[in-house]
Amino acid sequence: MKRLISLIAPMLLAAAIGCGGGAPPAQSPQGSDQTAQAQPAADNVAAVGENEDDSTADLADHHRHHHHGGFAMFIAMSLDAIGESPDQHDAIVKIQHDMHAKMQPAKDAEKAVLLALADGVAAGQVDQAKIDAAVAQLATASAGVHDAVADSINALHKTLTPPQRQALVDKLESHLTVWNHANAPDEPTAKDAHHGHIAQLAHELQLSPDQVDKIRESFASSMTQAPKYDRAEAEAHFQAFASAFTSENFDAHALTTGSAVNSHMATWGVNRMVRLYEAAAPVLTPDQRAKAADALRHHANYKRSDSET
């Protein structure tokens, strides 16, 4: 017996070395598949990827020009791709419609800013008092969004399954990442940024390299005077929302930071946009100013679909 073991044991040892790599994969919860952790993307590609495709470009463009609902807008947008079942469809469409309706006052206030900015760009001189008054209206309106949509978000929590709630949280975080990227305070210093707002303006208005440099310099100078945006505030609100929304007991009314965060996001985003166009206006030719003003009016009259009134 001892001899038999002595013969078999080395064979088992050799087999073990050879077969170690073929050990069963890490089991998923239902026990069938290998899983692993993905590598985090570098900061500059985490938001939009290495190669910006059409869907990504459209999303970034949306987040550069529309800030009025803050987090509430991200929630409504996340429902566009939540992957609902047929029996959930009508309820989710209604919730999304209700949320947009309740964000309408903030959207109208943002529209007033965009139209005032368009007039200023077309004239080559932005009326700062008019812009400031419109931005103040936006700050007030967007501060009211969280309370206005709280019942809709509660209804959404009841409608979604736990995995769908997690998907919504994932999408919300992703929208925040893209929005932060699209509205970064330090874009003016990122001269090699190919996908930023300045690069987009350069493309749309056929700016010369000299014009781009002048706009970038003026914008950078202007941004040093801008009130600071506190990303940590938005991140803390997101974490509070995520923790509450993925639990069984959720009440949007209990989230106390929504109003301030929505207002701060809306005013930061729109002020940043205003400062960019203010920097660009004196540098543009009359034709370029007219084109930029038309683009701003187009964004002011933005509709999510042909059926939207």
Binding site: K2, S6, A9, L12, L13, A16, I17, C19, G20, G21, G22, A23, P25, S28, P29, Q30, S32, D33, Q34, T35, A36, Q37, A38, Q39, P40, A41, A46, A47, V48, G49, E52, D54, S55, T56, D58, L59, A60, D61, H62, M77, S78, D80, A81, G83, E84, P86, P163, Q164, Q166, A167, K171, E173, S174, H175, T177, V178, Y302, K303, R304, S305
Partner: protein, 114 residues
């Protein structure tokens, strides 16, 4: 002798696994960008949303992105039923690709109007 060999077998198994881990580390799988997650419709598998991106299925796990190194059969079957109607995808708004058979969530990405 027998005791030494029996102790050596688990060690050898671990050694073999480590060799494989080093070999597999050559492939770097990077998490999907945020813009993709924001606009792509997930499938739901094993009680969580999963996203098909760059030939892998990704899922969120404690704040990080994980992926299935081999495609689960159920998800492979789902993907086999996707019909990507590129011709219809150009219109703005969310277009769910048509499916053969019964309805189920699509991998389409939402496109926002400009």
């Amino acid at each position: 002798m027998r005791t030494a060999l029996l102790l050596a077998i688990p060690f050898a198994l671990a050694l073999g696994t480590a060799h494989e881990a080093r070999a597999q580390a050559i492939e770097v799988v990077v998490e999907p960008p945020a813009a993709f997650i924001a606009t792509a419709a997930p499938e739901y598998y094993e009680g969580r949303p999963v996203y098909w991106y760059n030939n892998y299925w990704y899922y969120r796990d404690h704040g990080r992105w994980g992926y299935y190194r081999s495609e689960p059969v159920w998800l492979r079957d789902r993907r086999a039923h996707w019909v990507d109607r590129r011709g219809e995808y150009v219109r703005h708004g969310y277009v769910r690709p048509a499916y053969r058979g019964e309805w189920h969530p699509a991998p389409a990405r939402y496109r926002y109007r400009r």
